[in-house]
Amino acid sequence: MPGSELAVIDRVFRDEAGKAIATLIRLFGDIDVAEEAVQDAFMVATEKWPEIGLPPNPGGWIVTTARNRAIDRLRRESTREDRHAQAVALHIGAEPVPVEEPVSDDRLRLIFTCCHPALEPAAQVALTLRLLGGLQTPEIARAFLVPEPTMAQRLVRAKRKIKAANISYRVPRDADLPTRLGSVLTVVYLIYNEGYAASSGVELVRSDLCAEAIRLARLLRDLMPDEPEAIGLLALLLLTESRRAARTTNEGALVLLGDQDRTLWDRDLIEEGQALVRACLRRNRPGTFQIQAAIAAVHGDARRSEDTDWGQILQLYDQLMARAPSPVVALNRAVAVAEVDGAARALDLLADLDLPRYHLFHATRAELLRRMGRVEAADAAYGDAIALVTNPAERRLLEERRDANRS
């Protein structure tokens, strides 16, 4: 089969696998059955599509084929052992109309299952990527830098728990929605961060994670258009993504926000993100993702670093601290304080923070001390940061800053 047709099937898989799996899970109530059936259907597609051509509705074709495959399989297996499976298969076989069009809610239900707080966070992320993102286990393992058997085990364990503990497959009721939605949005945010934090120019797999997270964020926004935090998350990811090209040099070294070549920022992404932030403001139901997006939007407004409206950024950090106080938010707020009230004032704020193991705490301290001309204290703080940093690109940047401080 020619490569171009394989590429088409590959693209259809990435676009449709999540939808198809979600629909099949609704029909059969079993993740493994659904996954196997959808894999089968794509196998059939690689055989048949080159002969019959791409069907007019590839997604519907996949769902129908997968459904028939699953019924066949359950009937075959049920003659041997499980009468319950047979009952399920017969019941589904008796449904009058095959479900050609996936119900859009299917994926929404599935993501709430994948991100159920009763599952360990790492498994929530992996399940979401696998079932909704159409990523294979080896890809997920590579992206999270864990051995493939470890990731496979994590997925098996999570799927077993869903089944054994009877974790339901539905959108939570309104009373539970705020917390449950929070954990879904957090999973998508973690997927993005995992890709972004490590994107040092060499890890190509990991930029896929960013693209996948944005795709999931778009999906959540489309499925829950009335949830401002879902819009806020999408805006935050787009605005962060807009700076990707400027964030590293060709050699893969990190560039700080203030030093970035802003002509490299993606204006389309910025405009889309800013429009979403404005839509959030009109709704006036602020939340942490929306506020972070608004901060990113203010940065996006400044064509030159010195044009940044730090006063507004500081106000937004105040809001964020009021809603979700944490030492890391306080650290970021201190950076804004340094711009508005000076480095000395910011350094005072840092003294109250308990982040001894966080390299960016020491890096921020180093930058403030350097700005105040306290060369030796800055040097020691750079040293603390370098001792804690794990990402090679960040390490290189810190070493450069330390050397510049010394000379």
Binding site: D82, H84, H116, A164, A165, N166, I167, S168, P172, D176
Partner: protein
């Protein structure tokens, strides 16, 4: 419907609690039990004597061995449990949320295996 074991993990024994706390605890657990029964979710439940009343039975080389318990050498022991029937985990977690408030201790939720087909 799935059956769930809700176990209460408590390292305090009744004699370590002030009388008022104990009184409220018993009243709250009683109210919780009644609510579970009224909802038709009750299968079984009860409080246990402290873990130092436990005995352990095992078989070694085909010989039955009885020793002083408890088996698990940890401070956190089961103080009581319920077996409830619920349509899914969320429903079981909701019962557990009420249970943990009533008995003022963490509650672990664990599903029972399906009965083997008849």
């Amino acid at each position: 419907m799935t059956q769930y074991l809700l176990s209460v993990f408590d390292d305090r024994t009744p004699d370590q609690l002030p009388a008022e706390t104990l009184e409220k605890l018993y009243a709250d657990v009683d109210a919780f039990n009644n609510e579970v029964m009224a909802a038709g979710a009750w299968v079984f439940g009860g409080g246990l004597h402290p873990a130092d009343t436990a005995s352990v039975v095992s078989v070694r080389d085909d010989e039955t061995l009885v020793t002083d318990g408890p088996y698990a050498e940890t401070k956190e022991q089961i103080g009581g449990f319920w077996i409830l029937e619920a349509p899914d985990l969320d429903a079981a977690l909701e019962w557990a949320a009420k249970a943990t408030r009533a008995c003022q201790a963490p509650v672990e939720v664990r599903p029972f295996q399906d009965e083997p087909p008849a």
